[in-house]
């Protein structure tokens, strides 16, 4: 008996027992659907996160105080002087611009409206380094930095929340931690994404922030953004900065008290995090697929018992062990393949709905149903059917014809 006939017969048998087949398939449908949806969400999260990191700019470096990989005794913080030293053209020829920043989450208010925002103290170069553009007004000048003026540039969504508009805001007064600042510019919206949300940001001059908003010891900064002259010179710039900081901090070899990240480091970190997340979700979903497979085995065993007489008859008419084996294996894999196909549809729908819900909740996520996920689910569900069909099929095949025929 060839495979095509076996498939036709299996479909016939599945069809003749609609209710039972449907319930059996349901287990696989849910399993495959869950796997597909979870993998899609994982892939979507990954591309959203890495995409937003990539949006930062590929020639950017981030310098932080501290080192998470080794214990350093008596670490020194990175200061504005360190940042200034990085601009030394003879020691760091690959560095184009440097922008130190201090950050804090502070209450900003205007009139009766108030809002928590990320307030950043920045320098003039911040605009070029972070590629910030203004929808109105102008960026800080050197005078603002030197004179510690009380001016602020606000993010798009802050403008909306506090003033209910995004234009004509320049000239308004905003209170940050209760202190009045004059709004001199509004940042253009970059869209919400987990890392670069600058829509909910307020920028003030670094010096002003140090003196009036955030207390940091001796010119400490939270992060220094370093722009390399090109994407190719990022690693050279990273080495140069590290060398400058090692000299200035007098660190021992291998005991850096600072960390330099490139955008690529962030992307690979984010990727490995989202991969773990995807595997975790997929694994949990995989368990339901396994349960579905056990359901198939259960039903196939019932079916073998029920059809013992039929098996006996088929053997009496010349069916070999392999013919019977093929018949039952085909049936179990058809059941689970069918479940797999429907499950792919369900998973697709689920992923789509999750994407819609996530977007509605304000964190845009575009689940990606990949071709490899579909292939994986199809192959895996058929394999589940084959695997869990093996035992029942073997039980059927090894029935003695005379015993089977006697069975009622």
């Amino acid at each position: 008996m060839n495979l095509w006939q076996a498939i036709l017969e299996a479909l016939e048998s599945i069809r003749s027992n609609k209710m039972r087949s449907t319930l059996t398939i349901l287990g696989i449908v849910i399993g495959v659907g869950a796997v597909i949806a979870m993998l899609a969400v994982g892939a979507g999260a990954q591309s959203t996160i890495t995409g937003s990191i990539s949006g930062i700019g590929s020639n950017l470096l981030f310098v932080y105080s501290g080192n998470s990989t080794v214990d350093v005794t008596n670490p020194k913080m990175i200061t504005t002087d360190d940042a200034a030293a990085m601009l030394d053209q003879s020691q760091a020829p690959d560095v184009l611009a440097v922008a130190p920043e201090i950050q804090g989450s502070l209450k900003v208010s205007a009139g009766k409206e108030s809002e928590n925002a990320t307030v950043s103290g920045v320098t003039v170069d911040y605009a070029t380094v972070r590629n910030s553009t203004l929808s109105e007004g102008s960026f800080f000048s050197d005078q603002d930095i030197l004179g510690r003026t009380s001016v602020a540039i606000i993010g798009n969504s802050i403008a909306k929340k506090l003033y209910d508009r995004t234009d004509g805001v320049v000239g308004e007064t905003i209170r940050i931690s209760g202190q009045p600042f004059e709004v001199i510019g509004v940042l253009e919206s970059k869209g919400g994404s987990p890392f670069t949300s600058q829509d909910n940001t307020v920028l003030v001059p670094l010096t002003t922030a140090q003196v009036r908003l955030m207390s940091r010891g001796s010119d400490e900064v939270d992060v220094v953004y370093v722009q390399a002259i090109s994407a190719d010179s990022v690693s050279a710039a990273s080495d140069e900065i590290s060398q400058i900081l090692r000299t200035r901090h007098r660190t021992k070899v291998g005991l850096d008290d600072f960390t330099v990240y490139s955008q690529e480091d962030f992307v690979s970190t984010a990727k490995s995090i989202t991969n773990v997340f995807t595997i975790f979700l997929g694994g949990i979903a995989g368990i339901s697929l396994l349960v579905g497979g056990i359901g198939i085995m259960n039903i196939m065993l019932v079916s073998v018992t029920e059809r013992t007489r039929e098996i006996g008859l088929r053997k009496a008419l010349g069916a070999r062990k392999n013919d019977i084996m093929l018949q039952f294996l085909t049936e179990s894999s058809m059941l689970s393949l069918l479940g797999g196909v429907i499950g792919i549809g369900l998973g697709w729908l689920l992923a789509f709905l999750i994407g819609k819900i996530a977007t509605a909740l304000g964190s845009p996520l575009q689940p990606e149903v990949g071709l490899n996920a579909i292939l994986l689910a199809t192959i895996f569900s058929t394999a589940v059917g084959l695997f869990f069909g093996m035992y029942p099929a073997n039980q059927a095949a090894k029935l003695e014809p005379v015993e089977a025929l006697r069975h009622d």
């Binding site: 048998s13 007489r309 088929r314 053997k315 009496a316 010349g318 062990k321």
Partner: protein, 228 residues
């Protein structure tokens, strides 16, 4: 001299029921020749169904020799036996044993599927066989839409489909009214007449036994007598 298609020598079938040995067949020897119509008769429990299962290669003997068409059956493996059941032997059962969800046509085709006959040829041959048993108009009916006699005729068509040397019928008329029973017997005997097929019928009905050329009588697992 007639040539034997079946040579049975001291054939035994012993079932182990717990600690008790039950001798369903306690050693029988006989020959059946090409083109014979033989009835195997005996009261229930005499071992006639056991003998039939052994002759049909549905079961293996505990000891003794069974030569079918010059082949020692004990030497064959499961797949060889399946091939014999497919090609050399056709079965007709008391309870018809048709696949309930398949049409008459598909039921008759089934042995050809296992023989690897292509679909087109299967359909032609199965239709011809159903016509031969007088069911040419009912090829697409399912067993539930047929009477008992018609179902058994489908079963006969199925038994014949691979042109076997022997047709074994186990109480073929047991579940039928006398008219249908008669028709089935006529079919089987006609087959013997026209094609020379060897027919072995297991029955306890003396009326059926009388239509056979020879009767093998069993009692308590041994041969009672052989009537020529």
């Amino acid at each position: 001299m007639k040539e034997a298609v079946i040579q049975v020598t001291d054939l035994k079938k012993i079932y182990q029921m717990g600690s008790v040995e039950v001798k369903a067949l306690a050693g029988v020897s006989f020959n059946i020749y090409w083109g014979e119509v033989v009835a195997i008769m005996g009261p229930s429990g005499s071992g006639k169904s056991t003998l039939m299962n052994l002759l049909g290669c549905l079961d293996r003997p505990s000891s003794g020799s069974y030569i079918l068409d010059n082949e020692q059956v004990a030497d064959l493996n499961d797949d060889d036996l399946a091939l014999i059941r497919n090609q050399k032997v056709g079965f007709v059962f008391q309870s018809f044993n048709l696949l309930p969800r398949q049409t008459a046509l598909a039921n008759v085709e089934l042995p050809m599927r296992y023989a690897g006959v292509p679909q087109a040829e299967r359909t032609i041959r199965a239709k011809a066989a159903l016509e031969m048993v007088g069911l040419g108009e009912r090829v697409h009916h399912k067993p539930t839409e047929l009477s008992g006699g018609q179902q058994q005729r489908v079963a006969v068509a199925r038994a014949l489909i691979n042109d076997p040397a022997i047709v074994m019928a186990d109480e073929p008329t047991g579940n039928l009214d006398s008219k249908s029973g008669k028709e089935i017997m006529e079919l089987l005997l006609g087959l013997n007449r026209d094609k020379g097929t060897t027919i072995i019928i297991v029955t306890h009905d003396p009326g059926i036994g009388a239509q056979a050329q020879r009767v093998i009588r069993l009692r308590d697992g041994v041969l009672e007598e052989e009537k020529a």
